[in-house]
Subunit: 457 residues, 2 copies
Amino acid sequence: MRCLVAFALLALAAPSLAFADPADPTDQQMLRRIYDAALDHSPAYEQLRILTEEFPGRLAGTAAYDGAAHWSIALLQQLGCDRTELQPVTVPSWERGAPESVQLLRGDDIIPLAALALGGSVATPPDGLTASIVELPNVAALTTTDVRGKIVFFNGPMNPTYVNTGRAYSEAGAQRNRGPAEAARHGAIAVVVRSLTHALDDEPHTGSTTYLPDVPRIPAAAISTVAAERLSATLAADPAAQLKIMINSQWLPDAPSANVIGEIRGSEFPEQIILVGGHLDSWDITPGAHDDGSGCIQSIDVLRILKAVGYQPRYTIRCVLFTNEENGLRGALEYARIAGDKKEHHALALETDSGGFRPSGFNLGNAAGDAHLKAARWKSLFEPYGIFQFQAGRGGADVGPLMAKGNTVAGLMPDSQRYFDYHHTRADSIDKVNRRELELGAAAMAALVYLVDRHGL
Amino acid sequence: MRCLVAFALLALAAPSLAFADPADPTDQQMLRRIYDAALDHSPAYEQLRILTEEFPGRLAGTAAYDGAAHWSIALLQQLGCDRTELQPVTVPSWERGAPESVQLLRGDDIIPLAALALGGSVATPPDGLTASIVELPNVAALTTTDVRGKIVFFNGPMNPTYVNTGRAYSEAGAQRNRGPAEAARHGAIAVVVRSLTHALDDEPHTGSTTYLPDVPRIPAAAISTVAAERLSATLAADPAAQLKIMINSQWLPDAPSANVIGEIRGSEFPEQIILVGGHLDSWDITPGAHDDGSGCIQSIDVLRILKAVGYQPRYTIRCVLFTNEENGLRGALEYARIAGDKKEHHALALETDSGGFRPSGFNLGNAAGDAHLKAARWKSLFEPYGIFQFQAGRGGADVGPLMAKGNTVAGLMPDSQRYFDYHHTRADSIDKVNRRELELGAAAMAALVYLVDRHGL
């Protein structure tokens, strides 16, 4: 592409920069100011670099998390919040321990497979666990296959034909989330799961698994998609091949942690809240750049942007960085409990936890089911900035407990194509985040917060 | 992000896979089939890997281009085209020669700056060219500054506040395209230009510059944005600093090249054409993955997809891979000339030359100015796939000559945030392309081609 003129003619019609009356800008003018503040010399990307490089592996209850929490609250204080708080939360505590290993044993060959224990997995015996393998396409196949005494290998790929990759993740995700418990119910002794990604590479993706009270807890690990393809091909050629799994994890007593809160007090309705937030914790093995360092930095940046454009909110604008989203949701539950006790009303709780990619819209949810229709009245304001979607939804995991209490919630919708390339892996690092995509997410959130604050939802 | 259920609820409502009558599918069903064929086991990404890794630096008129052309036409033949053609085109021929260098001289210090000669630049004397420097923010500043005998350093950044980065490229691009000629008109002896990118890194971006017949041709190079910042800071501290530029390029006689053409003959209107295309040439220093290897592979894939879904087009569907887009546009001009001589009518000429990123819509142009409005009647069919935009435009550089002859043109609109991170650099390689984003572009193009073929535009 070289043609300068043609590209100019394709440019989106941008609202004018000229203000008729700077003291009382129109919504169109305010959105332009917000996007200017978000895109021109934003500190967001450098902040995300610091968060992910200085505090990787910030699982709730760890020193890395606590470091990130103190760094974040200092940032909120520096940008002039009227109030900051470390809101105490007690969180479950699980440690990976010495690195896990999954080995494919075929005849005399020992073939290491790239693997990560699932979050919350129990340990194997210290010398590991060796058994033959049953490959299954999904959890349902347990009912028609004898898996007693075996290692179950769930090898269901994510469906590539869904344009929204989150839908494919949800469907294939059952084998990671429920698979180990269901396999144990049928007599399996361990589980390995194909990593939840469309990418064919050697990066294992961890994530939580949920045990059930009435069945044995068996060790469970994810293997990379390349390892899964290799394992499947080996089993087709040699059904007697075995796996040796070694997992050194342990469960510890619950630990102290905290949600990070910073707010700008509202001038008219200080007791009513517009919340912006993401989760500050990450899995133990990842820098957590897209999940959810991006969301935290974008949420902080919403406050910076509103101050930069000189907007005095009528509602209290509160940034909340939740703890323990990845392995407990205790931060979100405790926040909602305390908000309920204080009878705080949230005019909107806006979450961002789908990666720092190019945003295209919002999902919104409320008791009446019409929040997305109400927000859609601003569609023409947003379209010049590439925000087209206002659809019904439930915001995200961390605002779920608030929605359950009758508050209106929303979630930023970034493009989902690349998210599961990095999700829950060591590769979810700052170099995978594009500066402008990150900034556009913060701008879209700030714009929605401004509109809700000015006009109500 | 861990919540499986919430993500499922956010999933876009996808059209049903069940066909009422498989022999006569609805448009909704056909789009679903097209997207399935594009997203499930597509060969496109591996084809792009081969094109970019085996034929990098495929400037028109070079052996690399010819290799890419023969590889492409074989691919078109393999997928069952009714006709293929290497359409001869004579192209300008410019060689970079031995690597260029730009050195900053300050006192006894010699500081190398990452640089690439602009495409088409004349050479410096063999020993290089040394002079003091005048930094200017844009071409207009030439009228108020004495640049005689100096090297002009155009240091205008791309405007970060435009959401469409192409608009910023167009504005800042004047310093690369017209800057050297205008500086020469004012007496400058050479030009260095800040690379056209939002990224702050050490990657220089080349691109064409346009000399004028009535002014001297002076050497011109782009330097990386990091180098531009360094040079600017040095000049602020020491205005006497100099640059030494060495460029070893040469212009050669025009060379033979060819457009690559493959088509599926139409069953009802074989003499009417629906064209899909990109440009096969790239700058000499780049694998050209986004610019425009992606567009070529997507265009080829449109034919594969239509065959895969069993659709027999009524119009002739023609894939054209143009030569010499980067430094002459001779391929597009010759194609349009021959089409005019043959009185071929193009019902649509759809170009893809803005990178293999997530598509969000199309621009369309015709003589009446209403092509985008006509295509917008299919908006609801496209929205489940994330295609929202149908805007007035001119397609792109290679379909420009067809539009000038009265044909209807269109251009795929992928997201523009990352394009100029890689544009015209050595870094525009396969690893910068996401498989699914590439495939979604091919799917959107195939869907538009199908709809125009079935219903007319």
